[in-house]
């Protein structure tokens, strides 16, 4: 049920570690996909028009792609796996097991992407134009297919579609939000390729004169124009996702709504700038490195905001209707309510060194269900949330957690565990801190079973 130990990052929280690595990776990975299409389409154009400056630029762009995508992009991709495996191993186990052949297919495309990316750069002026373009197309298609595969897995986590009833993995992968999500990501990939065009062209002012820069930046600007489709794609996306998720983004959770609006507005601003600043040669000439970097920063924030929303609107699940964000499967909840969550979390042993009786049990329950999102102190921490609460409020909140806040999972565990958690949480409140001898009423006898079971289970088998 919860077969793994818990890992947390003090103050920041594990979720923040995943977010930091993921957003960094997504921006680079999207650029890598967009740059593949950009390079090969640009090479066609340059060869057709005999544009030597554009050819030179594509060569620069392809080595920049290797430096950025093959190192930081590839390793941060590994970093996502490492971090989700440490912070959310249950969900990782689930998607790895379910989609292992899809991951393997993605790996094949990744292998081709790397080989063709290197060959594309190292064979400039050494292969015939036709052969070189063919290599470029191998890269572009591989990189894009890599996105297609990953997109299916990510979108499954929000919209599993018919999979829960049919258990057909194709239906899991080709789920209801697959297509809108793929189109949105593709637009984002092209936009990032266009923005990096401006950065590289303006960073190498000694190589490209003003006319060449204007021409290159203007050409790159065309790759941002599909951003204009984003509002329509967003409408499509919001039509297919669950009502509860839509509600969270559209007012149900203020942080989610703010991030969503922030992402939409930033994307809109980038597309407006693409048209008025980059697309027209007269204005493209005026763009300098600082401006290009600023646009890239805005695009980074827009991507980060949208990824935050995509992750956030799945709550209270990490896999919609299947696994809660703390890693407990929905189908296991009833059993855990009967038998206790600690009895099925062999690594979560009550800390009897620092705590006593029900507080120790409560702290252990806190680690099973709260810690993954709420550190004691720091980002999204527990103490600021409940500092002014009293015992009846805590008990009431735990009774109807999922009803009070749509993005919170219900409490899972026996009434005794709930009681113990309430007592532990109460010790974190201002009232609890001022009253060291404990709350007025609690049931000490109810905790002994879970305590001994959890301790005994640690060295037992969990397969």
């Amino acid at each position: 049920m919860l077969p793994y130990p818990q890992w947390n990052m003090p103050l920041a929280g594990g979720a923040m570690v995943i977010a930091a690595i993921s957003i960094f990776h997504v921006v680079i990975a999207h650029f890598a996909v967009g740059a593949g299409l950009f390079n090969v389409l640009s090479e066609h154009r340059a060869r057709r028009l005999g544009d030597a400056q554009l050819l030179r630029f594509i060569r620069d762009n392809s080595i920049f792609l290797i430096y950025l995508s093959f190192v930081a992009g590839a390793i941060s991709g590994v970093g996502i796996w490492f971090s989700i495996g440490v912070v959310a191993p249950e969900a990782t186990t689930f998607v790895i097991r379910l989609f292992v052949w899809f991951w393997a297919i993605e790996w094949v495309f990744f292998l081709l992407e790397l080989a063709s990316g290197y060959i594309y750069y190292f064979t400039w002026d050494r292969l015939s134009p036709r052969a070189h373009l063919a290599v470029g197309w191998v890269y572009a298609v591989s990189a894009f297919m890599s996105l297609v595969i990953i997109n299916g897995i990510l979108s499954f986590m929000l919209t599993p579609g018919l999979w829960p009833t049919t258990l057909n993995v194709w239906q899991a992968w080709l789920n209801p939000s697959f297509w809108p999500s793929l189109f949105m990501r593709t637009v984002s990939c092209l936009a990032l390729a266009g923005i990096f065009t401006a950065i590289i062209a303006t960073a190498r002012r000694k190589v490209y004169d003003a006319t060449a820069r204007a021409s290159i930046v203007s050409w790159g600007g065309r790759f941002l124009l599909p951003l204009a489709l984003m509002p329509l794609l967003a409408v499509w996306y919001f039509r297919v996702i669950p009502v509860a998720s839509r509600s969270l983004a559209l007012g149900g959770a203020i942080a989610m709504t703010m991030f969503f609006l922030f992402g939409v507005i930033l994307s809109f601003l980038v597309s407006v700038y693409a048209y008025f600043g980059m697309f027209r040669r007269s204005t493209a000439r005026e763009i300098n490195l600082e401006t290009a970097l600023l646009i890239a920063a805005i695009a980074f924030l827009a991507t980060a905001s949208m990824e935050f929303v995509r992750e956030g609107i799945r709550k209270p699940y990490v896999i919609m209707n299947t696994m809660y964000s703390h890693g407990i499967l929905v189908k296991d909840a009833e059993k855990l309510n009967r038998e206790g969550v600690l009895a099925h979390a062999p690594w979560i042993v009550p800390d009897t060194v620092h705590y006593a009786g029900p507080v120790a049990i409560g702290e252990a329950v806190y680690r099973t269900q709260c810690l993954r999102c709420h550190e004691i102190e720091g980002y999204n921490a527990m103490v600021p949330l409940i500092r002014e609460w009293n015992m009846p409020l805590i008990e009431s909140a735990l009774n109807d957690l999922h009803l009070l806040k749509a993005f919170m999972p219900p409490f899972i565990g026996t009434p005794e565990e709930k009681n113990a958690l309430a007592i532990y949480l109460w010790t974190l409140t201002a009232e609890g801190q001022a009253w060291p001898e404990g709350p007025p009423v609690f049931d000490r006898d109810s905790t002994s079973t879970a305590d001994s079971t959890a301790a005994a289970a640690l060295t037992g088998g969990t397969e």
Binding site: Y4, I75, V78, R97, V100, T123, V135, V169, W347, E463
Partner: protein
């Protein structure tokens, strides 16, 4: 694990795929570990030859890094499918140190590019290039130690209660040092043979013959010396293994026979390398040596699997894990793998006949 989706193919199929991709990972990884170190040593030698050898060695490091990571990802994918409880638990017990691999890898990879640029620039002092080589070596050895620790924790379930609060206890294990030395010295042997093939590759494309012949001889000497040393360290490593591991390695099962064959090939490899060293321009000995090296590596990968299965065998039997075959996704993967490999061959053929790049 019964709550999670079943393994989507027979566990032995996944296990063999794991062995295959891990083998390729090891071939590239060994180059990444040893090439910067050897380049650093060549840079200590006076004269242009040392710099040239270092340049040839470092030229391939970024590409080797890329494919080390790519095949490492595939290996970890299949490990996660077969051994999730062991693998994730080991990750979590190592915690921040495990996540630190990501940063270490990124810095080491960027320094591989930096070292390559610095060595190629005659204006730049070689001290900087040596510093870059030292940074890469320290980082990749650190990563190797962490990966090894992860493997150790994953297989030692009985020690988990102690490792929860003191994950660094793995260092105290008697096999830790010989294991690490086994990796490092093995990487020198593999890289020695990489040097041989790099020299032929460059010679074929019109590189300087005399220097490349010297480079090839150096490669053979390194491979021979490292293989001899590896036999000593291998015996040391074996001696520290518990008797149950000996029983498993000599149990006569198919994986144990593969391991025994690998050990025999390793011993024969030394003789073949000595013959190659005596005839450095006869490519046949180098081909045979490479064949024996691959056979040895296959044996080592099988031996690693034997030890892992033994260590976790009390409550875990790979072949009897429940599975539900996802036939269509698997066939799609197999088809795309074939298409991908054919495309890869076509790409490699494109560059095979390219002349040496003018420098």
């Amino acid at each position: 694990m019964e709550s999670f989706p079943p393994i989507p193919a027979h566990p032995l199929l996944i296990s063999h795929l794991l062995g295959l991709v891990f083998l390729i990972h090891v071939v590239f990884m060994n180059y990444v570990v040893a090439a910067p170190l050897l380049a650093m040593i060549y840079l200590r030698a006076k004269g242009e030859a040392g710099r040239l050898f270092a340049r040839w060695l470092t030229a391939a490091v970024p590409v080797a890094f890329t494919f080390t990571i790519n095949f490492g990802v595939a290996s970890l994918l299949f490990v996660q499918v077969l051994y999730p409880e062991r693998f994730y638990t080991a990750n979590i017990l190592l915690g921040a140190a495990w996540l630190g691999i990501v940063g270490m890898l990124m810095v080491a990879f960027y320094f591989a590019y930096i070292m390559q640029k610095w060595i190629a620039n005659p204006q730049r002092s070689i001290a900087w290039s040596r510093l870059a080589g030292a940074i890469i070596t320290v980082l990749v050895v650190g990563i190797a130690a962490l990966m090894m620790s992860n493997y150790f924790i994953a297989t030692e379930k009985s020690q988990w209660p102690q490792l929860v609060s003191q994950p660094w206890l793995v260092v105290k294990n008697l096999t830790f040092v010989p294991r690490l030395l086994h990796i490092l010295i093995g990487s020198l042997a593999v890289t020695g043979l990489w040097m041989v093939w790099i020299s032929w590759w460059r010679q074929r494309r019109g590189g300087p013959v005399a220097e490349l012949q010297a480079f090839r001889r150096q490669g053979l000497q390194i491979a021979t010396g490292a293989t001899g040393l590896q036999i000593v360290v291998g015996v040391w490593f074996l001696l520290w293994l518990p008797s149950a591991a000996w029983d498993a390695l000599f149990s006569g099962t198919f994986p144990s026979m593969v391991w025994i064959g690998g050990v025999a090939c390793g011993l024969l490899l030394l003789g073949v390398l000595l013959a190659a060293l005596a005839n450095p321009d006869k490519i046949i000995w180098q081909r045979i040596a490479t064949g024996f090296l691959f056979a040895t590596l296959i044996g080592m990968v099988a031996g690693r699997d034997v030890i892992r299965r033994l260590a976790i065998g009390d409550d875990f039997h790979l072949a009897s894990l429940p599975y539900r075959f996802q036939a269509e996704p698997f066939l799609t993967f197999a088809l795309l793998l074939v298409v991908g490999l054919v495309t890869l061959l076509v790409l490699l053929r494109l560059i095979w006949r390219l002349p040496e790049k003018k420098e």
